[in-house]
Symmetry: C2
Subunit: 213 residues, 2 copies
């Protein structure tokens, strides 16, 4: 693609959002970032990836994780050597997301990327959802769980994602108006939903004056 475009994807747990993000990146021949963001943020900040993994898409508890762990006394985290809270990790990760968006077109899944890049005119935000039945089915296909356990995992993970998003943004997770485009995967299925989203991206690119990057 000649025009830079950053696609951010929010998603219900088990909806197929991650699969759609990957396939969309492939179809558009652009980069894809999901959990990879943590390794990058770790590298850029000089902190251990483990910190980012433990804090991944979890809102700050109000207590500093690192403070509780006793790390803050070590003075390692200059220029921010007071506490190493989830909030601090969020800021590091936000820098990483902004750097990636600077570099070139990509798909970024989760991590409030839509909010972090809210002033970027090349950004389009999506929210992917699915029927409860399809979500349970998808989870059972990849994890050895009972239906009840899958239901519980859906509730718990969505609640955690919503808390994280609502804490770090001034928007509401899963509200249609928080995203440019939201879609129920059950109508067209994964592959055709990817094609359909791609057609939206192409319409947007053809509409805007060309950008280069």
């Amino acid at each position: 693609m000649n025009n830079k475009i950053i696609l951010t994807i929010g998603r219900q747990f088990g909806s197929g959002g991650r699969e759609i993000g990957k396939k969309l990146a492939k179809a558009l021949n652009i980069a894809y970032y999901d959990k990879e963001l943590m390794a990058l943020a770790a590298k850029e900040s000089g902190l251990s990836e483990e910190f980012f993994e433990k804090a991944d898409e979890r809102a700050s508890s109000g207590l500093s994780y690192a403070f509780t762990m006793g790390y803050s006394y070590m003075g390692l985290f200059t220029p921010y050597n007071d506490i190493l809270s989830n909030d601090r990790l969020f800021l590091y990760q936000s820098d990483t997301i902004r750097n990636l968006a600077e570099k070139g077109s990509c798909v970024i899944v989760g991590r409030c990327a839509d909010y972090i890049l809210r002033d970027n005119p090349n950004c389009l935000s999506f929210f992917i959802h699915n029927t409860k039945e399809n979500r349970i089915q998808r989870i059972l296909e990849s994890q050895n769980l009972t239906v009840e356990q899958a239901k519980e995992l859906i509730l718990k993970t969505d609640k955690s994602r919503a808390s994280y998003y609502n804490y770090y943004t001034n928007k509401e997770w899963g509200a249609a108006s928080s995203y440019n485009f939201s879609i129920d995967v059950s109508v067209l299925g994964v592959d055709e939903t990817v094609e359909f989203i791609k057609s939206f991206v192409e319409r947007k690119i053809n509409k805007q004056p060309p950008h280069f990057g």
Copy 2:
């Protein structure tokens, strides 16, 4: 169109949802219902259209409107001659919506039609939203208001629509997961958003086994 399709449209006030619904119906050459529903419900129920207009997209106050007005003593409303509440009007209007969906393809704006037709396999539900700036601009173009008044009207009308929807359905107004598809009109503009939604409807029709009606 050979295949029956019912498109329901929820919308933020001032978003352009009504205009999109009308243009979509025209583009697909199918019927369009918005405020027309009230005249139809009045005709079918034998009640005055005024009742439906006063209750339009307003949740029941808990007190019966008609009871307050003293109408319930007149025994006019058999077989429901106890009270003529907003709830009762909602039920009449729901019957009208189901009858229309039986008759043929159409676009229905508002009035919880997505929920009323939730078991109809030919139904697709949409939610139309727009940026705050565009919504204010659209309102100012059609009504003689100040920016502050337009902002207030947006808040008040959306709140009223949300209360109505949340009261009569088990879903949340404006939540992405309450609809098959939600879109921010500001990305493509009204006319191209219509084209894009039309392409979604066509994909859905081509995917499903043919229905006739």
